[in-house]
Subunit: 758 residues, 2 copies
């Protein structure tokens, strides 16, 4: 029992080693507590779970084969993605090596290949470039007039050192954030990355990657732009300087793009016939390196080559904590994007092979991986679907394949790296570009999305444009907020309408949408299909007005006015109040005519009166010609079937609405409410002597039946007639209790603002 | 007709001068078009509506009386609130004068007194102080070591000029924003200022006002702090320097606070007996000015006095457009807060006197007023409830009272202002502080709010803390976002549960909440009480799992596995497949036992097979001991009564859910859906050959009856038995079409993220 609970708490997903039945007897026994400790250890180190169960005979061979292939791809991708981070390519190798070591122990996915990923690399790169632009490293005494970036000499060594420091510090910070997210168990925030948002974000990212790689393919140097629209400025400058293109680099790049795209297309089209995809990037890179070395492209054509790949490792370096404050916003976005990519890829294979991925443990695993690798000058690690697909399709069964791929990268670092030095950067950039096709193709989703759901299409477009204009980190945040806003708006502006009965059934449907739907006589039924809260309480009120066809407050005020006129006439003797109504003296031209435009007099407001009960039929011709809207109903039913919550403003306003309608003799009922609504209303002090629970009904039909019953069996007195005390003899002005209500009670939701203004 | 439509469009609220009946005949006639032009003019200049109807005899006297009293209060408040803006107090007089002139022509409220208001003034002041702090105006050559603000001399003249320029530029910008808001008709954004938000914001504002005035009462000078926590730093420094307090100012301030609060209490307690509230602030100010002049407090006690009130007017000055970019965020907040205050106060009196306020016209009126007054060195105008209450309670009927109060302020500017110069600033500050009581009292709302609605209480506290820490403008924005987030969260985490029938009725209620509720046999009913969208689709899935008690995908995978085992055994001849099920050969110890922990083999996944139809009763004992969860149901009903919208992710996921359940022979039905849902689903490409509209029912009971019917009249074959094609003879491996589904179709909401990772 103890262990089962514990293991669930720790996210072990029920794989308890100590069965709950067996354990009940050993509760708190030494054996059990030792097992419990082991459970805790397992939850933090999933490797303790899977490595002891490793089937060496069955899996080791395929893991090794998979590791070898993945390692080659990882080496290449590490180099290529380092270009996006704007650090020397050798650091990409580190980034393809270190994080795997930690993930091996901590991760719960058996198939993902941990390492760099283009979009995340670019996000890191944009921080790096904004904090360490070329302009900061101009060598003094060099041609200072050449501020356009071509003339001045740049101290590349200290610049690159600074950039590596920034990238690794950022990685460290991302790691810390991810661990915090994992410990706080807020993996769920990834849910806010809606599909259309990710689509728009990805397309923008592809565009950003393309622009950043384009200048490498052309071997054109541009300034480092930051902030809003920087990608557009970069693009413009790249084209302005297109004359300085290095032809050797351009040709190598274009060839690479062409070959890669063709072979990828073949891989894709014949994926059922080819056992594993052709690793075209690896092949191209090796060939290109050979050509570059043989033809000495660097010296002969001034081609931009990789040049120096450090041999061996750098000692671990502490992050520069003082930089944290400048990168906190970006690291937030990066931490979430990196995690989201890894988990979504991981889930694909977890579903395929029927095991579970623990979202929070993944956060912790990637967090520690980034902290660890950040100390070793790496940039942020996540996974790449392409690399993971290689690892899985070549037979990878567990992270043992991952650790072997790390071994291959290790060999590249300590031995083979030097061999890649003649490789042109433009080839690496071209490999990155060739992989963007799928991301760009998403643009074609938009028209379909628009047809299916306009709001989702708007999220897509907004996120894409925001990510291009504001940059990826702010763009993601903007898209996220926009997405949440659409939810609020969709909740805020619900569908509503008057409902009527489908004859012969107990079903009620919208009057506007259905033929032959009948509204019960004297009853209006309004359904407001959303929760009610501060942002849509006005909407409820106006839909109420338009459903019933009059404004309850106005009707009340007009009636009050008419009463005062009548009272005046009675005083003057021109009218007589009788038990059966008001009798106008014949032949008297009525002076109480009132135009609608006439502004009302203040003093008038404190009049009305009592003593002889008279009844006024407000729907008949009145002796005073005040234009009182007719009230053709005696009951109003609010269908609360879709009202899932109410906030305090809503509770108060609904109470006000009830009272406003009661004043003009319309009873308000509630039907098909959710079960938790009553307790919400109780807490909100909704019920009192006048508003009681007997106005709530299980269904609209129940309410209608009740009302019909009431109408039939109530005393014969027509309820539309209203009893109002009207002073006839008494001279002293008596306060009419309800007259002061409007400013005290009505319009409660303005209360706070009014208090503010006091 | 033309005019009616037009006037409605223009927000004339139906007060059309040309009656719709009469006008139909004159359609497009000259008379009508002239009238139409007049209507348009009226909608932009509401004065054309009310001034011609002005009842001189009845109203003029009371308007004049009201204007005189209000003018005195406005003069005083103008001076006092200028302290909050950190400009010389004389500019407060301008701010109490100019905006009224424009509002007179453009405004739709007849009762509000336009002019400065403390919270808004403070918001303007915080921008002014952050952009023109004392430190920018140190006189060179003065004691430069005195950076603590006491030693160094400050060039107050150029500082004040700069501050006035900033304040008026900000006012101008606020005006522009307000006009834009009005033209775009987005007055509704005020709705997002929920009550608890306003409560928290106001209390924070009161705290900020208190701190800023405290140092004036004490006559202690502090540095100008900006940004996060600046108010706390100011408070701390004020107390650190409390030794430098000017005793004369302190005594005058404390006395003022005491007298004002006592008299206000009296005003409040006897408001029914006193015809108009005692204008204690005006009295105190006059007395204090007299004392200060008589005792020559400035020279004898070094008291801080108002000193210079400019006589006459400054020429209009263009705003400094180059400052716009630095103040755009703050001006956004200010524009909305100023508008919200004015409209909420205006609505109180509009309700009381039964006329309508046009929200968008108000935006335009205040916008032009601020643009106009911004040109005359004023700060932002709105209204103050206290002043408006004076205007109304002394008999003000229209804005004629406002224009007369402006006349009084004008007299102060050109003539009386000089007389107020000996007044101590601490008295003005004390007047401001004495008005804060009501705002601070709101703190006591929080416990009640917490009891009534925890979320609303959290909004209150969050907004209050954010507004204190981040400042009023950012704090308001943070509170607003937090409020919207709570809506998203409340929608995202709805109530849900399995429903059952109340015997003898067609009503279904939550099984957990009600006794004796019966779930129909073999049927589960889930109600998920919220719209379904990207952020809660996971919640729907997990609530589904916990309601039905199993995971449909897992069940399917396990069944597939069992089938493969059975197939192997059949091949080995250990089992025989017959038409009636699988018969295990007796006495054979089953080898197909499988532990739950055992990781699954990849190759296994592509096996299953066809040809001889066999039936497997998945709920009976199987010959292979694969642990398949039992599926005790044949139908699942989703009650969509509260699902008001679906986004594209939800549509796809629900389709996937249907297919997942169909695979294990559970039919999914939908009941009591909203009318617009079907069209949403149609657009989202939900329906196809397998998912048809016949799974939608009007009510849960209809669905249950249908299912019961189906069960009774379907052929006698037990539907829990499943037909699966199982290969027996054929040797060639046949692809089992559904086996590849998991990675293609399932978990659709990860699709975009996966594509991103490609």
């Amino acid at each position: 029992m103890c262990i089962t609970q514990l293991s669930v708490t720790l996210g072990l997903l029920g794989r308890s080693g100590c069965s709950s039945v067996g354990c009940v007897h050993h509760l708190f026994s030494r054996r059990c507590s030792r097992k419990r400790a082991f459970q805790i250890a397992k939850s933090f180190l999933p490797i303790l779970e899977w490595l002891p169960n490793y089937r060496v005979k069955e899996w080791l061979i395929s893991d090794i084969i998979s590791g070898l292939s993945t390692g080659l791809v990882a080496t290449l991708q590490g180099l290529a993605y380092a270009l996006l981070v704007a650090v020397p390519v050798g650091f990409g190798l580190y980034s393809a090596f270190f994080p795997i070591l930690t993930y091996f122990f901590l991760g719960t996915s058996r198939h993902i290949s941990v390492g760099p990923f283009p979009v995340v690399s670019l996000m890191v790169g944009s921080v790096v470039l904004s904090m360490a632009p070329d302009e900061h490293f101009l060598i003094e005494g060099s041609n200072a007039t050449g501020t356009n970036g071509t003339g001045a000499l740049i101290d590349t060594e200290s610049r690159d050192a600074q950039r590596v420091l920034i990238a690794s510090t950022l990685t460290f910070l991302v790691g810390i954030l991810q661990v915090i997210f994992g410990v706080l168990q807020i993996g769920f925030i990834v849910r806010y990355l809606a599909d259309p948002l990710v689509g728009g974000f990805t397309t923008a990212a592809a565009f950003q990657v393309l622009v950043s790689q384009l200048k490498i393919v052309l071997n054109v140097s541009t300034k480092n732009y930051n902030g809003v629209l920087s990608i557009i400025y970069t693009l413009v400058e790249t084209f302005e300087k297109i004359g300085t293109t290095n032809i050797a680099d351009l040709i190598a790049g274009l060839l690479t793009i062409f070959v890669c795209m063709v072979v990828k297309e073949i891989n894709d089209r014949f994926k059922h016939k080819i056992p594993i995809p052709i690793p075209i990037e690896v092949i191209v890179t090796i060939v290109a390196t050979g050509i570059s070395y043989a033809a000495d492209l660097e010296k002969k054509y001034n081609a931009g080559i990789v040049k120096s790949i450090p041999r061996g490792f750098l000692p671990p370096e502490p992050p520069n904590v003082s930089l944290f404050s400048q990168m906190i916003a970006a690291s937030f976005s990066i931490a979430i994007v990196a995690y989201a990519i890894a988990v979504s890829v991981g889930k694909v294979y977890a579903t395929k092979y029927d095991y579970a991925i623990d979202g929070n443990q993944e956060f912790i695993a990637f967090g520690f991986s980034n902290i660890f690798s950040g100390a070793f000058s790496c940039f942020v690690a996540t996974t790449a679907l392409s690399r993971t697909a290689v690892q899985e399709s070549t037979g990878g069964k567990t992270q043992v394949a991952g650790i072997i791929s790390a071994g291959i990268v290790l060999i590249s670092i300590v031995a083979l790296g030097k061999l890649l030095e003649p490789l042109q950067k433009s080839v690496l950039a071209a490999v990155v570009i060739a992989n963007l096709k799928g991301m760009f193709m998403q643009v074609f989703d938009v028209p379909r999305l628009w047809r299916q759901n306009k709001v989702d299409a708007m999220i897509w477009v907004f996120t894409c444009i925001a990510s291009i204009i504001l940059g990826l980190d702010l763009g993601l945040l903007a898209g996220l907020l926009f997405g949440l806003l659409t939810v609020v708006l969709r909740v805020q502006f619900p569908s509503w309408g008057g409902f009527g009965n489908i004859p012969g059934t107990d079903i009620y449907k919208k009057v506007k949408d259905y033929k032959n739907v009948i509204e019960p006589e004297g009853v209006k039924i309004l359904k407001f299909s959303s929760p009610i809260f501060y942002a849509n309480i006005d909407g409820l009120k106006s839909s109420l007005k338009s459903t019933v066809g009059f404004d309850a407050v106005k009707v009340y005020n007009k009636r009050l006015k008419a009463l005062r006129k009548i009272q005046k006439l009675i005083k003057k003797g021109k009218l007589k109040a009788t038990k059966n109504g008001i009798i106008s003296e014949p032949g008297i031209n009525n002076e109480a005519f009132e135009t609608d435009e006439e502004p009302e007099d203040n003093q008038d407001l404190q009049v009305p009166t009592k003593e002889v009960e008279i009844q006024v039929d407000w729907n008949s011709e009145l002796p005073v010609k005040v234009n009182i809207p007719k009230v053709p109903i005696h009951s109003l039913i609010l269908d609360f079937g879709a009202v899932t919550f109410l906030d305090i403003v809503a509770v108060r306003s609904i109470k006000t609405i009830i009272k406003e309608f009661e004043r003009i003799d319309v009873r308000v009922y509630f039907a098909s409410y959710q079960d938790n609504l009553i307790s919400q209303l109780e807490r909100g002090a909704f019920f009192d002597d006048t508003v009681r629970k007997d106005i709530f009904f299980l269904t609209v039909h129940d309410a209608v039946l009740y009302i019909r019953n009431q109408m039939t069996y109530s005393d014969n007195q027509d309820p539309i007639f209203e009893k109002i005390s009207l002073m006839q003899e008494s001279k002293e002005p008596i306060e009419f209790s309800e007259a002061s209500q409007p400013d005290d009670e009505l319009d409660v939701q303005e209360e706070a603002m009014r208090r503010l203004a006091s």
